[in-house]
Amino acid sequence: MERPRIGIFKYSCCAGCQFQLIYFQEHLLETFGAVDIVYGRMETSAGSEEGPFDVVLIEGAITESKQADQLKAVRGRSKYLVPIGSCAVNGGIPAIKNLTPELEVEQRVYSRIEPIHSVRAHPADEYVRVDAYLRGCPVGETDLIELVTALLLGTRPRMIDYCVCVECKRRGNTCILVAEGAPCMGPVTNAGCGALCPSNHRSCYACWGPMPGANAPALARKFEAMGMPPDEIVRRFTEFGCPTLEFRKGAELYE
């Protein structure tokens, strides 16, 4: 198998997923051996965004129209296109701003807003067809290795598609939602992190975004029954991935 030609495009985000991807811990040397990074501004000054690519990884939410234009162009140059990290997969943290009128958010930060060209933050699949999702904030190692090895094996990756509770129970944790009434988002959040938060005695705050098809309203009602005020329930479902249908359904019950 030839080394797959990879392009990495960063949009609005913290660049953490790229760090996780390229510099990630013990796998750094193997990753470099396994793939050919044809374009990636944080990695190399060589290469061009013209491709062609086997795989393009999209990092960050789309918050400017010229990002969307480039994204569409890049889609045409790549066999596969995979959003990596919550920002690109479901809007992530940058999409919190969508809850407030854009102008108001901008004015809170800049006194002159003429130079600003921002639009609402959207995940990549709002603009282009995507082939898989590499979830996490930052991207999870298990899925990441699965993606790379699937490419090398010439097959489709099997991404983790269940919720955090599955990993939480496989680790043998006490459920803190039940035992302590902690507002854990595990039941509606896509797994892959290894149930990091519940294992460290804290509620999952949904940094991987929703598990597709999650029953957010049922969890929102549970939070209400626990005595959580409506504005706090809304915040639980809008910290990560608030543009997604699943979390919208949870939040809108209490808006």
Partner: protein, 274 residues
Amino acid sequence: MNWILPREAVVVAVKTETPDTKTLTLRLRNSHERLDFKPGQFNMVGLPGIGEAPITFSSPSGNETFQHTVRAVGRVTRALTALKGSDVLHVRGPFGSGWPEDEAVGKNLLIVAGGMGMVPLRPFLLHVFENRIKFGRIVVLYGARTPDDMLFRDEVTVWAEQADTKVLLTVDEVPVGSTWTGPTGVVTELFDHPGVLLDDALALTCGPELMMRFVVRGLLLRQFPASRIYLSLERRMRCGVAQCGHCQIGPKYVCQDGPVFCYTDLRGWPDTLL
């Protein structure tokens, strides 16, 4: 030998059946071993790193080689159909029940296949034609989406020429330029052809579950006894031995109690299209 450990098999030949379906002729790599199975049983066929999928035997047992006919629909099946001669893959099995061979003896047989459904029926039919005198009249109804999706066309033509055998083919649609002159329409429409619904018959069917739903209904409406209808089902499977739990229908394990079931055993359970 631990049943979960796969055995290596070597691809002896690959035959393209339709654009997305191939028949692999395989031989166990360890030449001392032979695979004995019944028509209708299946193997878990896999590749390291890709995974495993349940695949029925498409050839009869008793030879040094055995065959699997695979349609590329996903991760495992795509990798299997990409294999070439002398490649190595993994098999473990055989698992599951087969077609009711003993019960079929002395009876007329109504075989109803849809698309890939012919795969598990083929070894059974080959067995029947091999032992022709043990069985009564044979009717084979075979439907496919298009003429090009019809499997084992050469063999089907041969079967049609056998004594006391009727073979009727139908397709859902005829693409422009096709030389198809046979009937179009769903396979159940063939029930009303003369000589199809015989007395003292056993009906064996395999195909998409929705098709089998209409086959069963069509037969029941025509007073065919439910206890004489056998179907082969498809479910997700990880183990093949009634442990992974994925294939259950009510109290039935498709991998162990099936994949061939008598209709009366399935009747009434939820989560099927039947």
